[in-house]
């Protein structure tokens, strides 16, 4: 109950093709994350699954049943919007209860469902407030609570954390992961924060301009990206791309993650000048401007010091590097 299949789904707004043929299957109980740059069609795909946009061609099926023409309410899905979309005139309790009330569930059952969700999300003391009296993080949790009470087959999240501050993001991220474990429901989650993608997903779908670039488990994408796009998108700070010919290698691009680039004041393969240094306490990021490869990032654990404008030498750990051809495709 909750397996989703998309078969050659496309979407055009007027004459612009936004989704250009997507095939995808999400297993029951899986946590699937859509990532991709802004405007690549993540929200559109999610809204098509929800039934909020018509499908131009192709099929959307849940548990094998085609649902293209089913209205959203009949699809047994719940969605959490980026803007929360709480009902501003209803209390937290009523926000959560509305869908059940609509479905004709008995009052007592609604109340107990809402209370359960509230307990899960630590919202108990806020049940009688209205959204305008809540902080951003609290609103987000109410939006999630509203989704939970309906015990849907499928949860859809559209960038649910993008309006939260850093601390709340981490906390809510963990909460969502816990929820997924506890409810065992299928979840589809849109984000363009790849940390969220990495930490939450069972399966990541990388989208680019309406097409799927790669699908896989987070560490598979991290360790085995198909192309420069996926390699650059997964992992933070971003992978460095070096011009392989300048290093005397016979392919186009060498991809190396910042933690696999070693830095030395004396010697190394690539010369550069320290452009900027970020000390985060537990780790240090150094940005180095090089003549051949532009700005490169080095990530070191612990505290380090590299005075700005000093000349330094970098050496890639070739064993951890990725090789790409001129089209950006991985050479294996």
């Amino acid at each position: 109950m909750g397996a989703l299949t998309l078969s050659n789904v496309t979407k055009a707004f007027g004459k612009t093709d936004v989704i250009k043929g997507v095939d995808l299957s999400v297993e029951d109980g899986e946590f699937c994350v859509f990532v991709g740059p802004s405007g690549c069609g993540k929200s559109t795909l999610l809204r098509m699954i929800a039934g909020l946009e018509d499908v131009t061609s192709g099929d959307v099926a849940i548990d094998g049943a085609r649902i293209n023409d089913l209205p959203p309410a009949k699809r047994e899905i719940a969605m959490v919007f980026q803007s929360y979309a709480l009902y501003p005139h209803l209390t937290v309790r009523d926000n959560m209860g509305l869908a059940l009330k609509q479905a004709g569930v008995a009052k007592a059952d609604i109340a107990s469902a809402a209370d359960k969700a509230a307990a899960m999300l630590a919202l108990e003391p806020l049940m009688e407030r209205r959204p305008s009296e809540l902080s951003g993080g609290q609103r987000q949790r109410v939006a999630i609570g509203r989704a939970i009470v309906r015990t849907p087959k499928l949860f859809l999240f559209d960038e649910p954390l993008s309006n939260l501050d850093a601390a709340l993001r981490v906390a809510t991220r963990i909460e969502i992961a816990r929820l997924h474990r506890e409810l065992g429901a299928t979840m589809i989650y849109v984000t363009h924060d790849q940390v969220e993608a990495m930490t939450l997903a069972d399966k990541i779908v990388v989208l680019r301009a309406g097409r799927v670039e790669q699908v896989g488990r987070p560490m598979d994408l991290y360790n085995d990206p198909d192309n420069t796009f996926v390699a650059g998108f997964i992992g933070s700070p971003q992978m460095n791309f070096l011009k392989a010919d300048r290093l005397g290698l016979n392919f186009d691009t060498l991809g190396i993650r910042p933690e696999h680039l070693s830095i030395s004041a004396e010697s190394g393969q690539i010369e550069g000048r320290v452009s900027h240094l970020e000390k985060l306490g537990g780790e240090t990021l150094t940005y180095i401007r090089t003549e051949d490869h532009g700005l490169l990032t080095v990530r070191q654990f612990g505290e380090h010091d590299h005075p700005v404008d000093d000349t330094v030498w970098l050496t890639p750990d070739q064993s951890r590097a990725f090789r790409f051809d001129a089209e950006g495709q991985r050479l294996r």
Partner: protein, 279 residues
């Protein structure tokens, strides 16, 4: 206290101008009120004098109370105004919602069609309207008036409301759809409560001409039981003499209910705006 952003000088000037304009706005009202308490001779002998011991005269109010059932007239006016407002707001908001929420063929044509009505006085259609009411037996009922005012108020309501409806968050409506609300519920339970300030604005614009209208009550519902307050006051306007005491008293009293309605609506309006929509 001296402060960085708020100079006392500026705020005194603001109050000065506002007080001045308030005086201009209220002076004629003041003249109306004081004269409604004076005898006819005293009105014209010195219109600006306050009612004194010898000029104080409740004759206007007495005449009003004596001539016809003014309480009933008030009630009729209230019924008609509130009833028409209800339908204008309801039907207007529904149509505005359809126009702003859905893309369908003929959408903008329909918008223009519904706006035509603000460009031509409905009074011109009087004969046909009256014929219709005669045929349907609605003459001398408040229903006839409510129908006409509803039709008259709709164009402006649709025009203004559809502007505002566009600003209601699309995500919110989608959230409702996912929660299983029908389009009707979305409209009634989500959208309507959120456009309250706009509804209040429209209500203010709509109610004043209805309350003050003389023409349609005169034509459609002139009977004693269905007279409105404005029509009821006309009895004091004669061919050669007008009983100004009574007119001032009646029409002066008549502003009280509208003023109350205005206060209700304007509070909604301001509160709605300042509370702001929730992101």
């Amino acid at each position: 206290m001296m402060s960085a952003r708020h100079s006392t000088g500026r705020s005194i000037a603001a109050h000065g101008i506002l007080i001045l304009y308030t005086l201009i706005a209220l002076f004629p009202v003041f003249v109306i009120v004081i004269n409604s308490f004076k005898s006819r001779r005293a009105i014209f002998a010195d219109p600006l004098a306050l009612p004194s011991a010898e000029t104080f005269d409740m004759i206007g109010y007495q005449t009003v109370l004596k001539q016809g059932d003014f309480f009933q007239y008030f009630l009729n006016s209230m019924t008609v105004t509130v009833g028409s407002l209800f339908f204008v707001l309801l039907f207007g908001a529904m149509a505005a919602f359809a126009l702003s929420e859905y893309r369908f063929r003929g959408n903008s044509l329909m918008g223009l069609y519904l706006a035509l009505g603000i460009m031509i006085p409905i009074r011109l259609g009087t004969v046909a309207i009256l014929q219709m009411m005669v045929a349907s037996g609605l003459v001398n009922t408040l229903t006839a008036l409510i129908l006409v005012y509803t039709a008259q108020g709709l164009p402006l309501a649709v025009f203004i409301l559809s502007e505002f409806m566009r600003s209601v968050s699309a995500d919110l409506k989608d959230a409702g759809r996912i929660d299983g609300l029908s389009e009707y519920r979305i409209f009634f339970r989500l959208v309507l409560p959120l456009v309250r300030p706009a509804m209040a604005t429209v209500a203010v614009f709509t109610m004043i001409p209805i309350w003050n209208d003389l023409w349609f009550p005169l034509i459609l519902a002139p009977s004693e039981e269905t007279k409105t307050i404005t029509l009821g006051s006309q009895v004091f306007i004669g061919q050669f003499v007008t009983n100004w005491n009574a007119v001032l008293a009646a029409l002066g009293l008549a502003i009280v209910p509208v003023l109350v309605l205005y206060l209700i609506f304007s509070r909604q309006l301001i509160r709605g705006i300042t509370a702001g929509a929730v992101k």
